[in-house]
Subunit: 298 residues, 4 copies
Amino acid sequence: MLTGCHIAFIGGDARQIEVIKKCSELDATISLIGFNQLESQFPGATKVDPAPEIFEDVDALILPIVGAHADGIVESVFSDQTIILKEDWIKTLPEHCVIYTGMATPYLEQLTSKYNIKLVRLLDRDDVAIYNSIPTVEGALMMAIQNTDITLHGSKCVVLGLGRVGMSLARALHALGAKVLVGARKPEHLARIYEMGLTPFHIQDIKQYIHHCDILFNTIPAKVVPAEVIVRLPSHTLIIDLASKPGGVDFRFAEKRGIKALLAPSLPGIVAPKTAGRILANVITQLMIEERQSRGEE
Amino acid sequence: MLTGCHIAFIGGDARQIEVIKKCSELDATISLIGFNQLESQFPGATKVDPAPEIFEDVDALILPIVGAHADGIVESVFSDQTIILKEDWIKTLPEHCVIYTGMATPYLEQLTSKYNIKLVRLLDRDDVAIYNSIPTVEGALMMAIQNTDITLHGSKCVVLGLGRVGMSLARALHALGAKVLVGARKPEHLARIYEMGLTPFHIQDIKQYIHHCDILFNTIPAKVVPAEVIVRLPSHTLIIDLASKPGGVDFRFAEKRGIKALLAPSLPGIVAPKTAGRILANVITQLMIEERQSRGEE
Amino acid sequence: MLTGCHIAFIGGDARQIEVIKKCSELDATISLIGFNQLESQFPGATKVDPAPEIFEDVDALILPIVGAHADGIVESVFSDQTIILKEDWIKTLPEHCVIYTGMATPYLEQLTSKYNIKLVRLLDRDDVAIYNSIPTVEGALMMAIQNTDITLHGSKCVVLGLGRVGMSLARALHALGAKVLVGARKPEHLARIYEMGLTPFHIQDIKQYIHHCDILFNTIPAKVVPAEVIVRLPSHTLIIDLASKPGGVDFRFAEKRGIKALLAPSLPGIVAPKTAGRILANVITQLMIEERQSRGEE
Amino acid sequence: MLTGCHIAFIGGDARQIEVIKKCSELDATISLIGFNQLESQFPGATKVDPAPEIFEDVDALILPIVGAHADGIVESVFSDQTIILKEDWIKTLPEHCVIYTGMATPYLEQLTSKYNIKLVRLLDRDDVAIYNSIPTVEGALMMAIQNTDITLHGSKCVVLGLGRVGMSLARALHALGAKVLVGARKPEHLARIYEMGLTPFHIQDIKQYIHHCDILFNTIPAKVVPAEVIVRLPSHTLIIDLASKPGGVDFRFAEKRGIKALLAPSLPGIVAPKTAGRILANVITQLMIEERQSRGEE
Ligand SMILES: NC(=O)c1ccc[n+]([C@@H]2O[C@H](COP(=O)([O-])OP(=O)(O)OC[C@H]3O[C@@H](n4cnc5c(N)ncnc54)[C@H](OP(=O)(O)O)[C@@H]3O)[C@@H](O)[C@H]2O)c1
Ligand SMILES: NC(=O)c1ccc[n+]([C@@H]2O[C@H](COP(=O)([O-])OP(=O)(O)OC[C@H]3O[C@@H](n4cnc5c(N)ncnc54)[C@H](OP(=O)(O)O)[C@@H]3O)[C@@H](O)[C@H]2O)c1
Ligand SMILES: NC(=O)c1ccc[n+]([C@@H]2O[C@H](COP(=O)([O-])OP(=O)(O)OC[C@H]3O[C@@H](n4cnc5c(N)ncnc54)[C@H](OP(=O)(O)O)[C@@H]3O)[C@@H](O)[C@H]2O)c1
Ligand SMILES: NC(=O)c1ccc[n+]([C@@H]2O[C@H](COP(=O)([O-])OP(=O)(O)OC[C@H]3O[C@@H](n4cnc5c(N)ncnc54)[C@H](OP(=O)(O)O)[C@@H]3O)[C@@H](O)[C@H]2O)c1
């Protein structure tokens, strides 16, 4: 439980609702900043005006996935006003307060290090990345089904990378009956790909493995699909690039060759905002409970 | 091979291209009627004007999935003219000619029985229904991902029916990490559901199994989801009805209760026309080869 | 519940204990014949001497899997005496009594038809065969692991038949990472094999598909693995024949060629007697409840 | 290819044959020491007497899985003589020679570090551990099927550890229809367990998750199954401990409580020596080829 714990939320999107809901269920005291258009009500949660005093006894401050922009602006789909995370607020926070954000902008990093406030970058966590791989994969499947005239079943799919997303994606494609090849560079990744019943290849040999490829999924945030790879793909291949911007594909060349290539960022929030919100809610509340325990409060 | 075999195609959609391609690869002689806007060329295939003489030595006549309408009209996406399957044409066919259609309209049934011409209804075949279940399932997955704010993984999915589509669908959902319950009525179906690692229930007990249901997929062409079932569904449930029109769901009542219910007909041709076409191509050519062998021609 | 229901058991093995236990849990009145060495006690169950009067009000009579031998002998691992199913007993049974047996010997068939007593052959039921396929498959996996020096993962396994056992077996092998080919003769079986992600072939073409075969599993009760097939197998192939005696393999020729071939009957009772017993318990009690309901007693 | 490469083998078991075979296929020059009873012949391989000169131009020296014992003794199932790895031999090796062993004894470590010879401990490699997890899992499945009277399908299996063996094992059990719970301590492991469709729990909460456990598999080389855990297991639970000796189970207490607990070491070499040999062969030859390339010889 989070009884007696004061949590402040600043801005966010549909996902944040799940976090607020969970904190409320765990009996926390919740201050909402930048939610003036939110209609749902949650026990223990109050919309507040961000006077600095509010922050004096805040145990945890929760920001949106994208954190705070360069100038302190925090996005909120639940507000018609511009919300700015002020230095004053941070200054007022008690020493033990923890700030939770998806990712950290330099603005946020500077501010928190200046006032020595602990900053948790949720998307950097391995567990969050694995949980998020689930909606990411379903988004990728949806795109693949929509953008081809063949079935995944029986198709030849090449996945680049056996990281957190790559493993989940490769497993799902195999389960749906695709012939799955996975390119990686670590020997233990090649071994795991084989154990999973898939065909491994070393990413440096990619050119030899993409003949007859129907769908190429990239999860590697590096230029692993340059022109000399694309030129060897059949013209009907669909490329779905999941790696964070700018992706790993030479999109300009793909277009020139008439190969459909899609950059597909931020799938969890788009495809399954509720699940994505619950993932954050579970991890954040778990961390807050551990934090309290380590402070000897529970 | 189909060398020396004369095959006439009348109308069709993208799927028919795959059938023509396969027949061409097998060296058949092909007459295309209702394809005047088709651009691709296939060895052995000629666009012809449908003079009755054409049909004199036709070994197989291939119609579109929907067959011929009441008045003999045959749909073709490759023609800007209206194509009418004339009685004269059927009359002229040699005795051994076989007509292949997806389904049979009364018009077609009458005509073929009058002239004693063998009519193959492809969609009635068990094997075709099983092959088609693959694109059907992928279409259903796509719709489920698109129309919910949660992931299939971890969701509670109820599938009604363990027929040809139901089995494929239940397997795919399970493989993607959903909790899958399947309702059926035959004891052997309940046994198979259990063996597949899923939760079986008797369709007559449906009301006890749909609490907390996130997605309800129906494959039973009977009124198995009436108002008294819908009233027990959580309000966020998505219903996807795959059964042929009018489906098995009380759509009027679902709408009244604010439950999203989608009727999703003809998914194979929509989601994966190329795969759907290849399925037809493989089955038709296989049947034609067997037909020839039984006539002692090969 | 089976309250007020009188059930008599005659003989059996470990599996029968599960049936007795379940009947006891459902509050039946139970008479045990041929269990004088049984130590466990079950509420409502009594060991009785088989005086004909016992049978006057028996609602269900439960025999072992193998039924009664030619001369009426019923096997029992829980008795040191010979138990003989007497005609007198059958004669005394009330009209509505049902006899449950695994399989029926001519002796049993004659007797029950003479006195017009309903006889249920459990192993003939589709659902029982499917449930039993589960321990059968695990027995087959165990034998395959034991009798080869390679892993199933990565091996080439050929399964003959996509019946109740074949489907379960093929699925399990695939799940463990084997390359699975399945031979069948019905087009819908070939389609289902393909949908399952396996390689289908027509059983008549078997000779073309067994090159490099590591393990050949037969589930077809017909001579589908004759000498001319065996001669084409690599010498290291292991053959596991699951089909009921005499199996489908030319064992004499296999031995001559030095190919290891195992006939593996009755796996469920050997590999998982408790599970096999529960399968029977569930089906028998379900049938008894339905029987009662159809007599309007519950 | 390994043309021109001189490889010496000292001792070993059935697995070594696969390594010799593969080196021979790759055209290496092979010296066999301690193989005087080996009957098979391989092109390029000669049985030699271990005069020190032999070692002068050896590029790679391959020892058995267990390496060399304290006193230099090397086990060989192919020799009736005692083979001792002499310091003289190591001293004679060229600077670039690499020694491959499964594991390293202090004797071996000392010797190689003294003469500055590169020693590769194959079993320490992540990729080898993952490949070996495959036969290990099949051995564990076999033991579980043999030592229970229920099926894995439908049983409740608890796996401890999501390391290289744990992941493969959990996947296989799930695929066979078991209800699988996996205990781990890293948040990313718990996340991956969830993504795999299994039930995760923190290893420190083990006592809450083992009720109704049918089979407990341990892969953690630490005392994670002490008396206070065992005391909470149902009496029919089977424990299979895969962790390296002395395992993670309090075997003494298990025996006292009448719970069957099996320590199951070295499964790959027992269950699938050929596959285990091929794993070594592939990794060793791959490493030798890379070694050569890095020396600029190919
Ligand atoms: N589109 C979306 O909605 C979405 C959702 C989640 C994640 N993402 C993005 O998807 C990408 C993958 O995410 P993840 O969580 O799977 O990350 P990850 O676990 O770090 O996986 C990335 C993989 O790329 C490999 N890699 C990196 N650089 C490489 C190179 N130069 N050559 C070969 N392999 C290389 C890594 O292999 P090694 O282990 O060998 O380094 C690693 O396995 C990231 O860019 C992430 O931001 C997108
Ligand atoms: N949306 C699409 O794109 C698409 C694609 C393919 C098929 N379909 C349609 O989907 C439906 C299912 O196709 P299918 O190939 O799976 O057919 P199927 O193999 O005949 O399966 C239908 C199942 O419904 C059960 N059923 C029928 N009447 C029932 C009743 N009154 N109560 C309970 N169960 C009943 C049958 O069970 P029993 O065995 O017990 O009779 C059977 O298992 C059909 O309407 C078909 O036209 C749609
Ligand atoms: N060893 C054990 O412990 C154990 C356990 C259970 C069962 N069994 C035995 O295993 C066998 C299979 O059992 P099951 O329940 O799977 O039976 P099943 O469902 O009847 O399957 C048998 C399959 O064999 C095929 N078949 C029959 N005759 C054929 C022929 N001449 N050519 C080609 N295919 C043919 C059938 O195909 P069609 O549909 O085309 O006819 C059917 O799919 C039986 O003999 C059974 O007694 C053994
Ligand atoms: N029986 C056989 O035939 C056979 C075959 C192969 C391997 N093995 C043995 O099986 C064991 C596992 O092998 P592996 O390759 O899977 O090793 P591994 O990848 O290192 O896995 C071991 C797991 O144990 C966990 N662990 C270690 N200490 C722990 C502790 N104190 N509390 C909780 N978790 C702990 C580790 O988790 P963290 O990541 O959190 O540290 C790791 O995930 C080894 O002992 C190995 O020698 C036996």
